[in-house]
């Protein structure tokens, strides 16, 4: 349980960090996934680029349309709403489900997205919000949309010589309702399944919907069929039940020692139902 040998750098700027990155390098943000993986020798980077000293990466800017989050912003910052609208509410719902307090104090939003564990709350949230992020490498910065970010488990559109600099999340008008539900074996465990929903409401009728299931497959899944079926409906328990059934049918879940395919479908049904029923 000791990591394989590596060299360690702690640059002070994003440019310095980018210059150190490459094929055998890994960015150390909060370290809540990387360090255990290194101790198990599942990850054995030759170089560690610790970005904890880059102060500019720890910030939240609430703009009129967009909230810009520095990659090194710790999970804990989102436990209280960062803005008064539905976005702040949704982020707080999810933040409370991330690990335990010590994990939330260390772990970061940028690190979580870059790691791309399909059971990570921020990955589903990023996807359901249609967020985007800015990645910086030796050739400068580029914008990556949530829809094109997740490739598969632990794999994203970020290149080995890039790091996430900021995450941009759209603010939501007061007509939106948001919901989040997840199921884990114990408090603080990785979710076996989670569901996040963003509903633009016209009174009691859904104008448009976005629904994401996380932890069930290799990446967070947008349930477009469910979203289409929700549009124009009012949120009766019958409607919600039908959409939840549709959600369970439209994902082919992964299997592991905690949940079979069949059980994950049950959880998808339950969590999507609860996210919709609990949306506020």
């Amino acid at each position: 349980m000791k990591p394989a040998p590596f060299t360690y750098h702690a640059p002070a700027t994003v440019a310095e960090a980018a210059a150190l990155l490459g094929e055998d390098a890994k960015v150390l943000a909060g370290g809540q996934s990387l360090v255990p993986a290194m101790n198990f020798r599942l990850a054995r980077p030759a170089t560690i680029v610790d970005i904890n000293r880059i102060r500019s990466l720890d910030r939240i800017d609430v703009g009129a349309e967009i909230v810009t989050v520095g990659a090194m912003t710790r999970h804990r910052r989102f436990e209280e709403p960062i803005e008064p609208g539905p976005l702040g509410r949704l982020l707080a719902m999810a933040a409370h489900k991330i690990g335990h307090l010590p994990i939330r104090v260390r772990g970061t939003m940028g690190g979580s997205l870059a790691h791309a564990d399909p059971a990570a709350e921020w990955c589903s949230i990023f996807r359901v919000l249609d967020g985007r992020l800015v990645a910086t490498g030796p050739e400068g910065s580029r914008v990556i949309e949530a829809s094109g970010f997740f490739d598969t488990v632990f794999t994203t559109a970020i290149r080995p010589d890039e790091l996430i600099e900021t995450i941009e999340l759209p603010r939501l008008a007061d007509s939106y309702r948001v919901g989040f539900a997840e199921f884990s074996r114990r408090a603080g465990d990785f979710a076996l399944v989670m569901a996040a929903v963003v509903l633009d409401m016209d009174g009691e009728t859904v104008r448009t919907a976005r629904l994401v299931v996380g932890g069930a497959a290799d990446v967070p899944i947008r349930l477009e069929a469910c979203e289409a079926a929700l549009a124009g409906q009012s949120l009766t328990s019958d409607t919600i039940g039908e959409i939840a059934d549709l959600a369970a049918e439209s994902v082919t879940p992964l299997e592991d020692i905690h949940a079979s395919v069949e059980y994950r479908r049950d959880l998808i049904r339950a969590m999507t139902r609860r996210a919709m029923a609990g949306a506020t």
């Binding site: 349980m1 198990f40 114990r186 603080g188 990785f190 049950d266």
Partner: protein
């Protein structure tokens, strides 16, 4: 002031809570570190071991003159399989140590171990108790995969079943677990260049037995080895078995004439320490029309892994299950067959309760199922069958001293307000919520000494405890014990017992344990024995010393020793103000020994031993749970314990033992499970996958006491270290089944994971839908 009976604070805690206690891992400075190269496959033939050049690496071939671990049961059905300290020729489970690498640091040792390749010709592994009668032997050339087979029959079981008004049969499955001590194993072997002696600091529950075992294995005089158990972060049985790694360390220290250390990491602990409770039972009972159980028939199988654990052997689970299955129920027509099956998995060792959590689960599920089938109240069915006259002799010949089986159940029912609960259950069911209540009544055999262990036919038969007590000239005493506490609070409770006998305060009593140089030979701390046996010996020694003090005080004060009372640090003539400080008496005994009666031994010493047959604690557990029908998730919302452990020396410590035990029992019931795949790879090697509950999953545990005092224990205290773990799984699974009774769902497998509970609900829903 008497201290026994009062909840004084634990004397162990200040050092533990402020991080000043010294654990084995705190003692590794200036030692070489070792890492074990472990088998990556479950079964195969070793064809070569290749290490990087210059690596200090040792394999079985290097360990010349070293023996194998081969504990013995004197039973005709017992199969002896030697376990080499490092795999020899074959590997038999994933994680088995094949080679050992020595380096300057653990990190470097891990680097080298990782680069050391073991070539293995893989074979199909033998997995699961179903390989019992396979033509392929887990250990090629051995007579059977059934390495222990117990069977017995009393009365006329067949007739009872033929005449029964109701026959109920259930199958119980307990999945494999790891005792999961917070501190994994670890040891430091220190070489003394002056005399070549080795001191082994080791995380263990049994320092003396460890010394004997290792000295025999590496063929050294036992006196050349000192074993010390420093602060130990939990054992739960996993540390009462001999780890081959500790013996390798002692061999290395002698061979290299250097000090070496091994601190096990969590992954190693999950893979290669010891596992427990991989058991399958089929239990059948015959009832008459009134609900009296006429006969019980059990077919029990335990997967005991690749090797027999020293000293208790791989017979411990199947044979305990056979001997104690009826638990607190009176049934004289009893038939049972119980086997231990060797497989290509991590070896088994005892874990808190050993087989009793599983057999209690079997009996208590049986009671609920039978009651439902017969339309009886489950508590009335229990009442009709619980042992209620004492002493009671069981079908297996075990004598139960007085307990409070029926009373504990009635008390528990009163505390939970069963009528109110049923009303609330109905209301919530109408809202689609499922709550349930489950009872578990059980006995806990504790404090058994050599006579009881002898019945198991172990070559090494534990049981007695010896203590040495001495008073120094200042009037303080030192109690040296063979027991080896590691979290039980025995320093506190023994000092309470001794202080009361001597008229001192607990703080005046220093308890020395866990050091073979400083303590009399003893068996260590396990099997809920230390308060009863070591406590009994301590009380006897203290009484002997008190008698000697009274005698000296009598001559000093010109009074009869019988009239001397020891209290408040003084020896006082009863009913007078005449007295002498105990410190002054101690001075006299040491420094004015010419004033003692002629021929008297100077100083103040006492040695005592105690070796009882054993006693039975008992309890009733009640769990209240809510089951989430959509997800199968179970929340334990309330847990009530009515415990009878005789005299409570320190009620706070007793409650702590119960709360910790119940927590492990709930862990067994709902969370913890070691999983192997079909190739024999272990899949649960981290805390991502092996799930001990956290404080969020465990409710506040309500504890009530009954105190039945019997003469089976001279202190009046009965053991209770394991009871919490024994009773809790049955209460939880009964509660889940009660919560889902309207759906026709019953659960018989632990842990009752959400996936399993949900699958049972889904099957029931499918039946309803047709």
């Amino acid at each position: 002031m008497k201290s026994v009976g009062s909840s004084i604070r634990r004397r162990e805690d200040p050092a533990l809570l402020t991080g000043r206690s010294r654990f084995t891992a705190d003692l590794t400075s200036e030692t070489l570190a070792v890492a074990f190269v472990r088998s990556p496959v479950a079964r195969g033939i070793i064809t070569g071991v290749e290490a990087p050049p210059e690596t200090l690496v040792f394999t079985s071939e290097d360990l010349t003159g070293v023996g194998s671990i081969e504990p013995v049961l004197h039973r005709p059905d017992y199969v002896r399989i030697p376990q080499p300290l490092l795999a020899r020729g074959r590997v038999n489970f994933v994680g088995e140590p094949v080679a050992v690498v020595v380096a300057g640091s653990r990190a470097r040792a891990e680097d080298l171990a990782e680069q050391t390749f073991v070539d293995i010709e893989m074979e199909e592994p033998m997995l699961g108790a179903e390989v019992a009668y396979s033509a392929v032997r887990t250990h090629p050339g051995s007579v059977s995969n059934v390495v222990v087979e117990g069977a017995m029959s009393t009365g006329d079981v067949d007739r009872c079943f033929a005449e029964a008004a109701e026959v109920v049969e259930i199958s119980i499955r307990s999945r494999r677990q790891n005792a999961f001590p917070l501190e994994a194993r670890g040891a430091v072997a220190t070489f003394d260049p002056v005399d070549g002696r080795i001191t082994l600091h080791a995380s263990t529950q049994m320092p003396h037995v460890l010394r004997t075992a290792i000295a025999d294995l590496v063929d050294m005089p036992e006196s050349d080895l000192r074993v010390v158990a420093p602060a130990v972060g939990g054992g739960f049985g996993q540390k009462m078995a001999l780890p081959s790694e500790y013996a390798v360390l002692v061999w290395l220290a002698r061979h290299l004439e250097s000090s070496v250390s091994w601190i096990e990491d969590r992954r190693e602990n999950f893979m290669s320490s010891f596992h427990s409770r991989d058991q399958t039972y089929v239990v059948r009972a015959a009832f008459d029309a009134g609900g009296r159980m006429q006969a019980l028939d059990g077919d029990l199988a335990c997967d005991v892994g690749a090797y027999s654990c020293f000293p208790v052997t791989w017979g411990v689970e199947p044979l305990m299950a056979m001997g104690e299955l009826p638990g607190p129920y009176d049934v004289q027509h009893y038939r049972v067959r119980s086997i231990g099956v060797t497989t290509n998995t991590c070896p088994m060792s005892p874990y808190r309760g050993v087989s009793r959590p599983v057999l209690t689960l079997a009996m208590e599920r049986l009671m609920d199922v039978a009651a439902r089938r017969m339309g009886m109240d489950p508590l009335e069915l229990r009442r009709a069958n619980l042992v209620s006259t004492f002493p009671y002799r069981s079908a297996t010949g075990v004598v139960y001293d007085e307990g409070s089986y029926v009373q504990s159940m009635d008390e528990a029912a009163r505390h939970v307000d069963l009528t109110g609960f049923r009303a609330r259950q109905e209301v919530l069911r109408r809202e689609g919520r499922c709550i349930g209540i489950g009872f578990s009544v059980f006995s806990e055999r504790t404090g058994y000494g050599t006579p009881t262990f002898a019945a198991r036919s172990m070559e090494i038969t534990p049981g007695y405890e010896v203590v040495d007590l001495s008073m120094d000239p200042s009037g303080r005493v030192e109690l040296r014990i063979g027991a080896s506490p590691h979290g039980q609070g025995l320093v506190t409770t023994l000092s309470q017992l001794v202080a009361d006998e001597l008229g001192l305060e607990p703080v005046d009593v220093r308890v020395i344990h866990g050091d073979t140089d400083r303590t009399p030979y003893g068996w260590g701390t396990f099997a809920s024995r230390s308060m009863v046996i070591c406590g009994g010996a301590s009380q006897l020694a203290a009484q002997a010393m008190a008698g000697r003090i009274r005698s000296i005080a009598g001559s000093m004060l010109e009074a009869s020793p019988a009239d001397i009372v020891l209290d408040g640090g003084k020896a006082v003539v009863a009913g007078t103000d005449q007295g002498a400080a105990i410190g002054d008496i101690a001075r006299l005994a040491h420094h004015q020994s010419h004033r003692l009666e002629p021929g008297a031994e100077p100083g103040l010493h006492a040695r005592a031993s105690y070796d009882p047959a054993g006693t039975f604690s008992n309890a009733c557990h009640v769990a209240v749970v809510e089951v989430d029908v959509e997800t199968g998730h179970v929340t334990v919302e309330r847990f009530v314990v009515v415990e009878d452990a005789g005299l409570l020396v320190n009620p706070m410590i007793v409650d702590g033992q119960i709360a910790g035990g119940v927590t492990q029992g709930i862990a067994n019931a709902l969370f913890e499970e070691i999983v192997y795949d079909q190739s024999g790879n272990i899949l649960t090697t981290s805390l991502l996958d092996y799930l001990p509950p956290t404080v969020s999953e465990i409710p506040a545990i309500e504890i009530h006491h009954l105190e039945t005092i019997t003469d089976a224990s001279i202190t009046g205290a009965k053991g209770l270290g394991e009871g919490g773990t024994i009773g809790a799984p049955a209460a939880v699974l009964n509660a889940i089944s009660d919560a889902l009774s309207h759906l026709g769902v019953e659960v018989f497998e632990m842990p009752a994971t959400p996936e399993r509970v949900r699958a049972a609900i889904r099957r029931a829903e499918e039946v309803v839908r047709g």
